[in-house]
């Protein structure tokens, strides 16, 4: 690991009532990494992700970006520098696609952005430029999430947080969009943290896979190491699912 990690968790804990969702996690993430957070529902992976952009405030510990505590400045300012994509997308239904994307620079006080820039962002997520004048209700689920990603990139952020971004999409759309995100990660030099419950997706897209169970990280491996049998029981149970499916498909052929 580098001397100053790009993103660091320092003894972070978060409790919801009797449940310890995040249990004293310390973790460093290097610049340019594509990290997948994998685990069953309720394992605390979304909660951990949201402590970064302060949609969840930890009860104890700190989260540092480039060595600076995210709690040291107002939450909106922190969030404007971080791209955030989640399963629900949350497009503003009373605004056009273009206005949804333009909202990010607008609220940061950067004023209106050029139509050209909105076009570029739509290019990035492989949407036709004329979609900018349409309203979200006229789009398919996959198109909406592409707009959500374009909006997340509109603030020129270098950190992209994704919470089950493809969870509501059909398998074909899901695979295509996953590849596109992986490509964008490379093109734009992003650091990406993606929460998913799908181990296959994690293995295909990420270069580092963290497995969470009951608020703790129980495995921290590369996809290759996981496929080679590393990471322990919980991680291997998750890896077994897609491996088993692949074997059965192979046998069927």
């Amino acid at each position: 690991m580098a001397a100053t990690p790009f993103l660091a968790f320092d003894q972070v804990s978060k409790r919801f009532g009797p449940t310890l969702a995040v249990d004293d996690i310390s973790l460093d993430i290097a610049r340019g990494a594509f990290v997948a957070l994998v685990g069953a529902s309720g394992s605390g992976k979304s909660t951990l992700l949201k402590t970064v952009n302060r949609l969840v405030e930890p009860d104890a510990g700190r989260v540092l970006i480039d060595g600076a505590d995210v709690a040291s400045e107002p939450a909106p300012l922190v969030r404007r520098r971080i791209g955030y994509v989640f399963q629900g997308v949350g497009l503003f239904t009373h605004r056009t696609v273009g206005e949804n994307i333009a909202m990010v620079p607008r609220i940061s006080g950067a004023g209106r952005i050029a139509e050209e820039r909105i076009g570029e962002l739509l290019d990035l997520v492989e949407l036709p430029r004329d979609i900018a004048t349409r309203y979200p209700e006229a789009l398919s689920g996959g198109q909406r999430q592409r707009v959500g990603i374009a909006r997340a990139l509109a603030g020129d952020s270098h950190l992209l947080l994704m919470d089950e971004p493809f969870g509501a999409l059909d398998p074909i759309t899901r695979a295509r969009l996953g590849e596109r995100v992986r490509a964008l990660h490379e093109e734009l030099g992003l650091t990406t943290v993606m929460v998913t419950h799908d181990m296959a997706e994690a293995l295909l897209l990420a270069n580092r896979v963290l497995v969470m169970e009951a608020g703790r990280i129980v495995a921290d491996e590369t996809p290759a190491a996981l496929l080679a049998g590393a990471g322990g029981e919980a991680a291997q149970a998750l890896v077994a699912v897609p491996r088993d499916q692949a074997r059965r498909l192979g046998a069927a052929v």
Binding site: N53, L55, P76, G88, G90
Partner: protein, 520 residues
């Protein structure tokens, strides 16, 4: 039909005032509801209290709510000084504003607490501040629902504003109340048609705005808004016309809600117009409100009755006799407010207990004492006011009156109740035209429990020292005997060959030889 058309065409000023009052009330409701809704959307407790309060207000009958603001404002004078108006626009505006609160508040709170959770997460996620989230996400998403609330509130308010008439605010309720009292159905219908049409038009225009917002067609919203504002502007323009701008010069004549008061108010108006004054009528004021109105110069002239003032205003309970009571009232009015009692009109409109002649003769009921002794199985009917009046207490105690039943009727229907046997004895007015028409007799009052009720003319402090006004009204003083008044009342109240209030007033003036020079 032509009556109805004429009545409708004469409603211009009422319509203009009605529009302005309703719009101001909805604006007040909106001004209260929006900040409350924002607060309530963030706190369950505030939401509970605010919605509870608004619902409570809604359960108060609009008529009572309007009337309640009279004593409230009277009490508020301790803080804001004597200049605070207790009648007219202010209380009507406050009461209707509270009435408009609920639909707006409920829709706004519901809309704000049900804004799509994912849109809110996205708003936070891209770094909106709370204010930005409100402005860019919550407010626009809630706007169509808030607009729907404003629309509902507007329709309610336009309907309820007709009741503003009872507290001295000109509105489309004027023809409704006057028509109901004199059973002039063309007037009632005209008032109803006008206010219902106004409600429909407002609903339609605000509906355009609502649909424009909801379906993101700004043109539609603008068309609705511009047309609604144009209507408001026209109403404001009409009210601000030089005609009513010089309202200081206008003499306002008040009337309690019954035919005799309307006739006398119009007779006074005719005399004053002939003398060069411009007059405005404040018909249908609640009778508790009239005295306060004239002594505070909210209106300028009223006809009241000595017995009423004696018990209600002076707070006296004894009966000093007719002359002493009058003298005392003249002094008291002069002393306490500077209101001038111009004189007695000549007749009494006393409260008495009346029965059908046949029933009275058959049962040998000649005096109240007879009824007290042998009439315990009978039913007494009275107008809504009667059973709350000290006169009723007094007469009941003096004779030890007891009845099997006690029923309340609108004054107009009280006589029908006597005819149909729903009541055996009623509290009647001695000057009522139906006394002779229905062949009723008054029960004698040997104990003099009921005070005298001389009709007297009161002039507000503002015009108390106007000698020309006093001179113009002098022909009315001491000139109207009870037979003449009964006959004039009957003209308006009867079902056949019904006359308008104005015709009855002119007949009355003619009868007493006081008709104005112009028609002589």
């Amino acid at each position: 039909m032509s009556d109805l058309l004429a009545a409708l065409l004469g409603l211009g000023p009422q319509l203009a005032d009605h529009i302005l009052l309703s719009a101001a009330a909805v604006a007040l409701g909106l001004g209260l509801a929006l900040p409350l809704a924002l607060w309530a959307a963030r706190s369950r407790n505030v939401a509970g209290v605010a919605l509870g309060f608004a619902s409570l207000v809604q359960t108060i009958p609009a008529l009572a709510l309007l009337a309640l603001f009279f004593p409230i404002l009277l009490a508020a004078r301790a803080v804001f000084g004597e200049g605070l108006p207790t009648l007219g626009f202010l209380p009507a505006w406050l009461a209707l504003g509270l009435y408009a609160l609920l639909p707006i508040l409920r829709n706004a709170v519901t809309a704000l607490t049900h804004v799509d959770a994912e849109a809110l997460e996205a708003a936070d996620g891209i770094g909106m501040t709370r204010w930005q989230r409100l402005r860019h996400v919550e407010a626009p998403l809630a706007a169509p629902y808030v607009m729907a609330g404003i629309r509902t509130a507007s329709v309610w308010t336009i309907g309820a504003a007709t009741l503003a008439t009872t507290i001295g605010q000109r509105s489309l309720g004027d023809p409704i109340f006057a028509g109901l009292q004199t059973q002039n159905w063309a007037l009632v219908l005209a008032g109803c048609i006008a206010s219902a049409s106004l409600a429909l038009v407002a609903d339609g225009l605000l509906g355009l705005v609502e649909r424009g917002i909801a379906s993101r067609r700004p043109m539609l919203a603008w068309i609705g808004a511009v047309l609604a504002l144009a209507g408001l502007g026209a109403a404001a323009f009409a009210v601000a016309q030089p005609g009513s701008a010089a309202s200081r010069e206008v003499v306002k004549i008040g009337a309690k809600p019954f035919s005799e008061q309307y006739i006398l108010a119009h007779a006074i108006g005719i005399m004053l117009e002939d003398a060069g004054y411009r007059v405005e009528y404040r018909d249908g004021l609640g009778s508790a409100v009239v005295h306060e109105a004239v002594t505070s110069s909210a209106i300028d002239i009223s006809v009241d009755y000595t017995g009423t003032l004696w018990t209600n205003e002076l707070g006296e309970s004894g009966n000093p006799g007719r002359e002493a009571m009058f003298d005392e009232i003249v002094n008291w009015e002069q002393r306490t407010s500077g209101t001038k009692v111009l004189g007695r009109l000549g007749f009494e409109n006393a409260y008495g207990l009346a029965m059908e002649r046949e029933k009275a003769t058959f049962g040998l009921f000649n005096s109240i004492a007879d009824v007290a002794e042998r009439g315990q199985s009978m039913t007494i009917g009275g107008d809504p006011e009667w059973f709350e009046r000290p006169e009723w207490q007094a007469v009941r105690e003096a004779y030890g009156l007891r009845f099997a039943n006690q029923r309340t009727f609108a004054p107009t229907f009280m006589y029908n109740a006597l005819k149909s046997g729903e009541a055996d004895v009623i509290s009647a007015y001695t000057s009522d035209g139906r006394i002779a028409a229905d062949d009723l007799v008054f029960l004698a009052d040997p104990l003099e429990a009921l005070p005298s009720y001389d009709a007297i003319l009161l002039v507000s402090p503002r015009l108390a020292d106007d000698p020309e006004l006093a001179a113009a009204l002098k022909p009315l003083i001491g000139a109207i005997d009870v037979q003449t008044m009964r006959e004039a009342n009957l003209m308006v109240d009867r079902d056949e060959d019904k006359r308008s209030v104005d015709e009855a007033a002119r007949w009355l003036l003619d009868e007493i030889g006081a008709q104005p020079a112009s028609t002589r």
